[in-house]
Symmetry: C2
Subunit: 469 residues, 2 copies
C-alpha cells in the first residue's frame, strides 16, 4: 500500500463516482448532509446513496447495498457505526472500489474495541489493495470538481478555487470549522488525515506536489507516520512549491497534550526542527498563520530575499510595520539613489522607506493615485525583494490597483496589502476584489509580515535544497 | 497649563456646547462632515457651526464668527488652514472658550512655517489659560454623549459604550481607521494626541483614571512628553485599572523611523521597558493587540494569576492552545482531585486539562449543554485563575452561555471564548450576543491567550505597586 508518486490518491480527489454510505435521514443524517454538501458544491461526478431505509435521497435513486450499483464506483465514503465498517470495506473489495474514506468516529482514537475494528479494516483493505483515508476524518474537499465528504453543513456554495492545499490532523483545521467560503480562501484541495490507518502525510505530499492546481502546501501534523519517507517526499515537494507545517508540541505541556489527544509521541521538538529544516519545510507556529500565510503565498511570487519596501498612507502605521518587519527577520529595504531621486521628484517626503504617502495624498484630486506613481519604481528597485502597502480598503484603491496590476506583476515580486477603514463590509468587499486582482489583502498588520518572512525563508530553503550535492 | 487631576480635560470630552470652525461645503467640507458625524453619533450638546459662507448647516444656524454666538461655548474645534488658526485661538480667548482642538494639519509636523504657527497658538493659549489638543489630530470621541471631532466619515451610528479608552499618537489607531462600530468595540473615550503642543498623555491619564466609564486604558505613544510626570500619573492610573502601552521603536530601524515621522527621539528601548515596569504599565507589541486585548480586559475581571483552564470542543484545538498558552508565559492549570472527580463522573475523557468536550458532545441531544456541566466546576477550581473556551460561535452556544452567565460571573474569574464556525455572519452575530452577555469572543486563538497573559501581568504589576513602600 505504498504511494506511487501519489497517483493512487486520484480516486480520493478526482473520482468520477462516489458511493455514500450513512444515515440518509432528513435533515441531519450524516450521509444525507454529505450528499447535500456535494450538491451545494456542485460535485461533477455521479453520486450513489447507499441506504436500506429509503429508495430516494435528494432526488437520486438510493441503493440498498453497494453491489446493487450497476456501474463503477471510484470512491466509497462511509459514516456508519464502527462495527459495520469492516464488512462495508469487504463489500468495497468485492465491488472493486479502490478508495475508501471512513468518516465515522469510534475507532482507535476511542479505545480498545474501536482499535480492533480499525485493525480489521486495515487487514481487509490491505488484502484487496484498497487505500483508506481515516477513520475519524471529515475527509476531503476538491474545489475543482466540488467533491466534499464532510457530514455536517459546510457552506452553501463551492469554495473559491485557488492555490492552497490545506491538510490537517484535526477537523478543526478544515472546511468544517472555518468560514473559507465567506472569506474567499483560494483553495485547491483539503485533506483531513484522521487516524491515518493507511493514507497519511507522506502519501498526500507526492499527490499535491504533482497537482497543478496546488501552489502552496500547508499541513497540521501532531505526528509523522514514517519519518524517513516523509523527509524524502517533503524535499521533493519543497523543491517545487512551499511546504508549511504547523506542528504543535513545541512546549513540553503541549507534547503531553498531543500524547493524550492522538496517543502519539510528539518527540523532542528540536529533532522536528532539524527534520523540517533538512526537508526544506518552513515551520509555522499558530492557528492564524495556518489559515492566512499560505493564501498570501498562493497569490503572489515568492520573494527572492528579505528586503521589504513599506508604502504606507499613515506615518504611524509605517513605523509600527518597521518593528514588525524587523522582529520577523526581514529588513526594511534601503532604496537605491535612483529610486530616491524618482520619489523625491514626486515629493520630498516620499524619498525614504517607509514611504509615507499621507502628506502627498491630501494634495491630490484622487489621493489614491499616489500608488500608481510610487509602487512601480519602489517595487522595481534592485534593493527591494517585496512590498507591503498600508492603504484604505475601499473602491478607489481597488480601481488604482486594477490599473497597476499588470505593471506590478511584470516586476514579479510579492506585494501584500494591509487594508484599513471604518466600514467592515466595504473593506471585505474591497479585499475580495483586490485578491481577485492577485493582491492578498489583510486586515491585520502582522500576517502580511509573517507571510513575507515565511516566503523569504522558503526561498532560502529551496536554494539550499537545490545546491545540495 | 498643568493638569489638576485631569479635571480640566472635561471640556474636551463633556462639553455642553461645541463650536465647529471649518469648511461647511457639502458634502465633504471638514467642518460639515464633523457636524454630520456628531449628528449621526447623537451628540447631546449644542453645536455652533462657524462659517462666513453660509447661514445654515445641516438644519442649524451658522454664525459668521465665534463672537456672534450668544451663549457659552465649552469647546472649539477648528479645521482651517494653519495661518488662520492663531487668530481663531485668539477669538476663543475673547469668547472665554477654555478648550480647543486643532484638527488641521500643516503645523510643526510639516516644517518651519507650520512650527511658527504652532508656537503662536501655544503662546496665545497659554496666556489665556486655554488648553489645546493637537494640532494634526482627529481629536476625541466620547461614546457617552456622542461627541466626535473627526473630519471624515466615521460611521453612521454611535459606537457601543464600554470600558476601553483608546489613545494614540496617530489617526491610524483611532475611530477614523478601524471598524469599531461594525465590530462592536466597547469604548469609553478616544483621544488622538496629534502634535501634543499642549495636552499630552500625562494630562489624559488622570482624566481617564477618574473616568468611571473607563476600565482599561490603552495608549499608542511614539514618545513621552514629560517622563517624570508620566511615570507618576501612570502609576496612579495602574493602581486602579490596567494601562497598556504600544510603543514602537523596539528595533533600531523603527526608532529611526519614529524620528523621521514625528521628529521625536525614541530613546534606548530598554530604558522604556524599565520606565513602563516602574509605572506598572503593561507593554503590548502590535497593532492587533492594541485593538483586541483591551476589550477582553474591559468585559471580564483581571485574572489573579497565570493558571489557565482550557475547555475545547476540539482536541486538536486544545493541543494548539497549550503551546500558545505556554509560550505566552501562562501555564495550563492542574485541576484539583475534586474537580477531576467531578469531570470524571460526567465522562472519563473530560478529566484533564485541556478538557476535550468533543467526544461527550456527540452523545448529547444538545451537544452544547456540556458547557453548563463543565464550566462551573472548572472555573471554581482553586488551581484555576482563568479559562479559554474553544466553541462554536452559534446560537445554541449563545443560549448556553446566557444560562451560565450569572453562575460564572459569581466566580469572578475571566472566561474568554475562541469561537469558530463556517458561517461568518452567524459567527459575528453570535459573538456580539456573547459579548453582550459579558464573554469576550474572538475568532482567533492567540488574542484571548495574549489578553489573559496581559491581564495576569497587570495583576502582578498592580500587586507590586501596592506593596511598594
Amino acid at each position: 500500500m505504498e504511494s506511487q508518486a501519489g497517483n493512487d490518491l486520484r480516486a480520493f480527489l478526482e473520482p468520477e463516482s462516489v458511493a455514500v454510505i450513512g444515515s440518509m435521514r432528513e435533515p441531519q443524517g450524516e450521509g444525507y448532509v454529505m450528499i447535500q454538501n456535494m450538491l451545494r458544491f456542485g460535485y461533477s461526478g455521479r453520486i450513489y446513496p447507499i441506504s436500506r431505509s429509503c429508495d430516494e435521497v435528494l432526488g437520486m435513486r438510493a441503493y440498498a447495498a453497494l453491489n446493487e450499483v450497476d456501474a463503477r464506483v471510484d470512491l466509497a465514503v462511509m459514516v456508519t457505526p464502527p462495527p459495520t465498517v469492516p464488512g462495508l470495506v469487504g463489500q468495497c473489495a468485492d465491488k472493486g472500489v479502490r478508495a475508501v474514506i471512513i468518516v465515522s468516529e469510534g475507532f482507535a482514537e476511542a479505545g480498545q474495541e474501536g482499535a480492533g475494528f480499525q485493525r480489521q479494516v486495515v487487514d481487509i483493505a490491505h488484502r484487496a489493495g484498497i487505500r483508506v483515508l481515516g477513520p475519524n476524518t471529515q475527509g476531503v474537499l476538491n474545489t475543482d470538481n466540488g467533491l466534499v465528504t464532510g457530514p455536517y453543513f459546510c457552506g452553501s456554495k463551492r469554495p473559491l478555487s485557488g492555490g492552497v492545499a490545506y491538510c490537517s490532523q484535526t477537523g478543526f483545521l478544515t472546511f468544517a470549522s472555518h468560514p473559507i467560503i465567506d472569506r474567499a480562501y483560494p483553495i485547491s484541495k483539503v485533506f483531513e488525515f484522521g487516524n491515518k490507518c493507511d493514507v497519511h502525510e507522506a502519501d498526500v505530499l507526492p499527490y499535491l506536489t504533482n497537482d497543478p492546481k496546488t501552489r502552496v502546501i500547508v499541513m497540521h501534523l501532531e505526528e509523522v507516520k514514517d519519518g524517513h519517507r516523509f523527509i524524502q517526499v517533503a524535499q521533493q515537494a519543497a523543491v517545487r512549491k512551499p511546504v508549511l507545517i504547523l506542528k504543535p508540541g513545541r512546549t513540553e505541556a503541549a507534547a503531553r497534550a498531543v500524547a493524550s489527544h492522538t496517543g502519539s509521541l510528539a518527540g523532542d521538538d528540536q529533532v522536528w526542527d532539524t527534520v523540517f529544516r533538512q526537508a526544506g519545510i518552513i515551520r509555522i507556529s499558530n492557528w492564524r498563520d495556518f489559515w492566512e500565510v499560505p493564501r498570501a503565498l498562493a497569490l503572489q511570487p515568492v520573494p527572492a530575499g528579505n528586503r521589504v519596501a513599506i508604502v504606507s498612507a499613515t506615518g504611524g502605521g509605517g513605523v509600527l510595520l518597521v518593528d514588525a518587519v524587523t522582529e520577523a527577520g526581514l529588513v526594511p529595504a534601503s532604496f537605491t539613489s535612483a529610486t530616491l531621486q524618482e520619489l523625491e521628484a514626486l515629493s520630498p517626503k516620499l524619498a525614504r522607506n517607509p514611504v509615507d504617502t499621507g502628506p502627498d495624498m491630501v494634495l491630490r484630486d484622487n489621493p489614491f493615485s499616489i500608488y500608481e506613481d510610487v509602487m512601480p519604481p519602489v517595487l522595481a528597485d534592485p534593493n527591494v525583494d517585496c512590498a507591503i502597502v498600508v492603504c484604505h480598503a475601499n473602491p478607489p484603491v481597488v480601481d488604482v490597483f486594477e490599473r497597476l496590476a499588470s505593471r506590478l506583476s511584470r516586476i514579479a515580486k510579492p506585494v501584500l496589502l494591509f487594508g484599513y477603514g471604518v466600514d467592515q463590509a466595504e473593506m471585505q468587499e474591497s479585499g475580495r476584489r483586490l485578491e481577485a486582482l492577485g493582491f492578498p489583502t489583510f486586515f491585520d498588520m502582522d500576517i502580511p509580515v509573517r507571510a513575507l518572512a515565511v516566503g523569504a525563508a522558503y526561498a532560502k530553503a529551496r536554494l539550499d535544497l537545490l545546491e545540495r550535492p
